[in-house]
Symmetry: C2
Subunit: 392 residues, 2 copies
């Protein structure tokens, strides 16, 4: 096990009807003027924004608002938000939405106290100061409600880049699973895929003897394998929604990653897909992640056998471990297909002929990247090819 720091100071406020406590928690964490940041009209139409506003009114907290966050949130709206916050003297950004809204909120929080362009922090400069961020989560997926991470897309060139800092971990996150019950099956499945990917990126490691982290990873994965099909079959299932929502948070506070190297190549390779085609991140991951597994599994067959047996209930073939490893990857892809996810380029809406451009944009050149297997540009091209042609 490697040395590590684990820090997850967010107060999670979980369960039915908790959005009405937004005002109480804003005051508890010292907010006096709030930016309510949200996406499309659904948060308004559902009455959620109204509930939050009433709660802030009741608590005597002032606010302004900015909607319009799109999936793969753009720098252009971030600039607007920064300007608005400076003008209005905002001291806490309240994200009402999913990962995109939260990521956009974090970017605004970074930009307000910074003299230059917030994009500097999405180009490698460390975050040194940020406004407080808090969330009212409406989609179980990104884990952004408990993480210090944020990913923003530069509209000019659709360049997707991220930053991370403990300063960006939300002060509090209100998580009401019933708010996710209206989410269409496709988006629900995209979220579930993202949650599982957050775990797999940490699960495949070269660090040995981290049994506790392995088991915690498997706890989240087993929960997702059980609960996701239940939600796809019955979108109103509160209990299954609740399990998925909390699993999504646990998947990304880094509890599932401490004490070892992590990989994160599948996320990087996927980001180029969702950047170029503006498809959902989870859908891109459903295509890329099993392809990445097929490309790298020989690097540590036993680790894939562990996944196959512990997570997907495969029988270990002691005479042929490779068969078990492949059975596990197949079980994962079959699971994704079963919850309605695309499993190849055609189903995703991506084009084989773009592969050279995707590799070029990935920007590896002659370098290598990744914590589990160090991939070259050529390896990345091969993974896109496996993904393009995958079948059940």
């Amino acid at each position: 096990m490697l040395n590590f720091n684990f820090y997850s100071p967010t107060e999670f406020v979980f369960g039915k009807g908790r959005a009405a406590e937004a005002g109480h928690f804003v005051k508890k964490y010292g907010g006096t003027k709030v930016l309510i940041h949200y996406g499309g009209g659904s948060a308004v139409k559902s009455g959620l924004i109204g509930t939050v506003k009433k709660s802030l009114d009741d608590a005597g907290v002032k606010y302004c608002e900015l909607g319009g966050v799109k999936p793969n949130p753009r720098d252009t709206l971030v600039y607007k938000g920064i300007e608005l916050c400076k003008k209005e003297g905002v001291d806490l950004i309240l994200a009402v939405g999913g990962g995109s809204v939260i990521d956009s909120s974090k970017a605004i929080a970074v930009g307000v106290p910074y003299d230059g362009d917030f994009w500097d922090m999405y180009s490698g400069k460390p975050v040194e100061k940020a406004l407080h961020v808090a969330t009212v989560l409406t989609i179980a997926a990104a884990g952004s409600e408990g993480s210090g991470d944020s990913v923003i897309t530069k509209e000019d060139g659709m360049l997707k880049r991220g930053t991370g800092s403990d300063l960006l971990r939300p002060r509090f996150s209100i998580m009401d699973p019933s708010l996710t019950q209206t989410l269409p099956a496709y988006q629900t499945a995209c979220g579930a895929t993202d949650i599982m990917a957050h775990v797999f990126e940490r699960y495949f490691t070269n660090t040995t003897e981290v049994e506790i982290t392995d088991r915690l990873c498997e706890a989240v994965l087993l929960t997702m394998v059980k609960e996701t099909p239940r939600v796809i079959a019955d979108p109103d299932n509160y209990e299954a929604r609740a399990n998925i929502m909390w699993a999504g948070t646990v998947a990304h506070t880094n509890l599932c990653g401490v004490g070892r190297e992590q990989d994160w190549n599948s996320h990087g390779i996927e980001h180029e897909l969702s950047g170029l085609y503006d498809v959902a991140h989870g859908a891109g991951l459903a295509v890329i992640m099993p392809a990445w597994m097929e490309f790298v599994y020989k690097h540590n067959v036993m680790r894939f056998c562990q996944m196959a047996t512990r997570v997907f209930g495969c029988q270990m073939d002691f005479e042929n471990p490779e068969a078990t490893a492949l059975a596990g990857i197949k079980a994962f892809r079959t699971f994704l297909h079963g919850i309605g996810m695309p499993i190849n380029f055609d189903e995703l809406g991506a084009k084989r002929e773009d592969i050279p451009a995707l590799v070029e944009k990935f920007g590896l050149g002659d370098g290598r990247t990744g914590g589990f297997v160090h991939l070259s540009s050529d390896d990345v091209a091969q993974i896109y090819n496996i993904a393009a042609n995958a079948e059940i």
Copy 2:
């Protein structure tokens, strides 16, 4: 799943050699004058107190010190600590030790800013103010390094009582597994038992549909089942020590308990044993917990089958689930015996004839207690009886 709040703001600083960072983290969390609180001479002799002092000196942080914390920490030393802190103007208590030292530190932290007797907060009064607490952990067991809980024994009558508050969650906890390598096998096993008990108290619940919390519980338990015998066989095994140490924290931040009712009767029933005989809490739990299981398992046979199959690898007997449930309990007791724990009153040094006095001291009268099965005084007596006579 029930509504819940989850809040674990402690920064965990984990790994070899981290105690040298104590000064840095004290400053980060605003400490200017520290009380170094510890137990016997081993922390001094090992050089750990010296390392911590040097680190504080290097950071320019002032300190005073108070040693002498005993297992089942006493109110008498807490009063001394409170007086010292008031006199010296201490603003952060740094516990260097195990659960007893941390619990004593939390009691001092509660007492310093309080006008009356700190024992009020151990008699039901809510904690409203406390000094900051931080820890350098030397024993994996109590989980006190990540919890807001503290248990203190009133010397007059050996009365054991607890308190809990988010204000008592340590600001930071330095956790170096190599510091636990000198711990004798018996104390190591006591700690492991305590860790498993913290999970079981939360695992046995009447709340259904909390799969994610179940799986997280099982993750900790599976880790303990694997790693504890390795450490007993080879006390210098850093990797196994590291897994156990982190599992102990995860077991008690309440991550393993959210979203449902918890039980905690075994802890209550055990507290009377360690209070009366001054035996190790973990040893008392090894005697009580399987006895409690045997007394209550018929309340939910399937839940015990889940434990038996998922944690102890028992085969499910679909024609006779009760047999599987009992096999799981037997596997737990055999496991405890195998790591050198007592499994009945004789091995613990407790006396059958004291059972009426133990029940009397438990103080239930005509009432009932517990989240899983509501026990009466008569039930408690029966559990003590099962514990008294248990055999492998």
